[in-house]
Amino acid sequence: MEKASLMVLVVEDDPDLAALEADLLEERGHRVEVAFNGREALAAVERASPDLILLDMKMPVMSGREFADEYRRRQRSPAPIVVVTAADDAQRRAAEVGASGWIAKPFDPDALVDRVTRLLPSAGRS
């Protein structure tokens, strides 16, 4: 299977989990930027222009939701967002921020990679 190299922004306040997500994706050959809150993420999208954003909802300084709103406001063609959350109503929260998908914590590592791969823009894959 051809592996496209993509830029994925991981927004996650827990450094270990952020590292796990980054490791999993890098293992598959993707490039990963990590931001520990929404504000850092806003800076990161400027710097790295990610193809996909894995977004935690509950974070200090700026929450996932605030980031999503701000990001949409600034970016004319925003990258798809996948919400990674421990909340019971993950699906509803994902819909609220206009995410393309959601992953419930704790996630199956393979499932995370699958989901990311599937959600990546096809243009980037070819």
């Binding site: 827990d14 270990d16 989990l17 796990l20 490791d23 999993l24 293992e27 421990a86 909340a87 019971d88 109503d89 914590k105 704790p106 996630f107 199956d108 590592p109 393979d110």
Partner: protein, 795 residues
Amino acid sequence: MARSLIARVTAIAFGVELAFALAIPVAYLHLFNIERREDRALVLAIVGALYLVRTAALIGFLASLLRPIERWLAASHSSSQPAPDLTRRAARAAYDAPLLFPLVWATSWLLFYLPVTASLQGLFADRIPLSARAGEATVLFGFSCFAAALPLSYALLSWLLGPVAGRISLSARERGLALPGRRLSVRARLVALSLSLITAPTVWMGVNAYMSQIWTAQRDLAARAGLLADALEHHLAGSSERTAWVAATRALSTPLDAVAVATTDGEIIANSDAARELAAAPGLRLRLARALSRAPADAVLDPSAQRALAYRAIPAGTGGTFPGAVALVISREPGRDRGGELFTLLFFALVALSWAPICAGFLAGSIAGPLGSIRAVVAQIVESEDADRVGRIPIFHRDELGELAQGVNEMIDRLQASAERIRRYGADREQLLAVAARRAAELDAVLDNMVEGVFACDRSGGLTHTNAAGLRLLDLSPAVAVSRATQEPGTGGVGPLHPDGRPFSPAELPLARALAGEIIVEEDEVLENPSSHRPVFLRSSAAPIRDTAGAIAGAVAVARDVTEVVEFDRLKDQFIRVAAHELKTPVAILKGYSLMLMRSDQTLSIRSRRMLEAIDRGAERINRIVEDLLDISQAFLDALHLSPAPVDLDELARETVAGLRASELHRVVLQREDPGPMTVRADAARTRQVLGNLLSNAIKYSPAGGTIEVVLSVDRAAGEARTSVRDSGVGIPTQKQGGIFRLFYRAHTDTPHDYGGMGVGLYMAKELIKRQGGRIWFESREGEGSIFSFTLPLA
């Protein structure tokens, strides 16, 4: 006073009698026409002597009659109570003496003048010659005296002894002694008295008229006889011839007067008419013989009833043939005595003016006394509210009045007994009321110190009792104690709500339901605190109050403010929820890295790989616990978000079975009993969770190599689809089956079949199925296996 009863009775009785006793001899002298001073003195002497003897005897008798009374009086004046026997004897004496003694007394008067007359006729006949009718007259005179004495003495003694008898009767009553004594009715007493009152003057008038007629006739006759005797003596003077005597006697004789000459022996020697006349009156002839033998000289014989006889001695010198002859005249025909009649009238007037009023006065007193005491006691009963202070009526005489008094006394006894009963009832009632009041106060104290609010209402729903805690709750919201839909619009504010936020309808309120007969145990309602606008949770119980017949008489509700408990519970659930969420991230890191390590590092030793697998299993186990905790806290917070939608049950079951963590040791078979569509209305994820729970239990408790069947069926009539999971595992012991759906209940705890777990799966399954409108149940036999089934409504 003690020693004076006999003296007093004697003095009064015989004092009153003495006045009459002095009048009676005068009547006697008049009756028998005793006129000469010496003769009167003689008669009065005899009468006086007899009177003294008689009176002394009567006083002695009266004293012996009254002695028990006097002893009783003495005993009752000293401190000691008179002995019952003495009381009985005194009562008998007091009642019998006024009956017995007047009889004796009157009888003494009946007999009194018989010896007087007899002695005059016997001893002094020559000096005071009485009429031939003196015996009859004396008997009638005595009878008249008897009739006069009887009412007087009875009235006197009744009047004197009645009050004493009354006192004795009261004392006897207190001792419970029956009253002795002879009973004589008022009717009998009055009849006897009135007969006496009529008899006495009538008999006196009769005998007096009769005697005065006799005396008048006799006085006339004697006068005529004397005149004729003088004339004959004059005729006979100087002539001793028998023929001349006969002629003289014939010449002087009249149709009423027989004139004769007799010898001094009384033999008629001239005029046989006179001899015939004399022969017709043997008494007169006897008297003549006796008179001639004693006083052959000039004399006038007292006349008998019809005839008078006068004689004169003829001087012996004139005739000589019959010296000692007497001129004899026998005269007939009565006349009238005006003076005697006047005396009779005067005497009668005296009696009428003194004796009868005295009798009547004493009699009235003896009747009025008892009546007065009855009236006084009856007035006491009428006026006094307190029957206890009412005295008893003394019984003066054993007659109708006495019985009336006795009846009133018994009536008072009953009145007092019933008053006593009423008083006792009253006292008992007071005591009961005091006990009731104390118990009510205790209950109030208990109720007011309860944390719970207590509300009682009557059948109409109006509050009858509210304790202190209840009043505080009422301040919070008047709606807590409303028992029916009487809340006025506009006053209500926020009414009570169900915990899920629905408002209570009026019929749902605890008191209203209790009034309808329901018993409510620990139901929650939510109010809003009007000042802080924070929710207040009440946990209420209510029950109807039934009367003795079982009908609902009211209702009682107990409400407890459980806001703190509820909030603490909520806090705990939230803590669990937050904690569980926080666990998810470390679990994800553990699982992720262990898996990644196992997969990417091909150089790992078998030992290292086993360690990583153990870490992964442990993390997975933590993950399951976290899931369970989240489910529970969601269920308790009522935050299980179900999104029912049409779901193909068959597909769902297939996915679930396929998604099971593969176990080589068990086989799971899916069977479909209905070929048609199996679309149910359910939350797909939650339904998957339920089926997953049932399957994981079935696998857990089945032996290796066992087959687990999932059977799907449809009951279109009932509008539901059924899913059954059948295993052939260890089964559930019968005694443990009851709690199988309870939270944290684990049927196999501490048995060889304890495979761990929190006891949450079946609880959650039940909660989820219930919330989707389905049912869940099971059949199980120990050692043979179990079948768990649930239904879901068809879409």
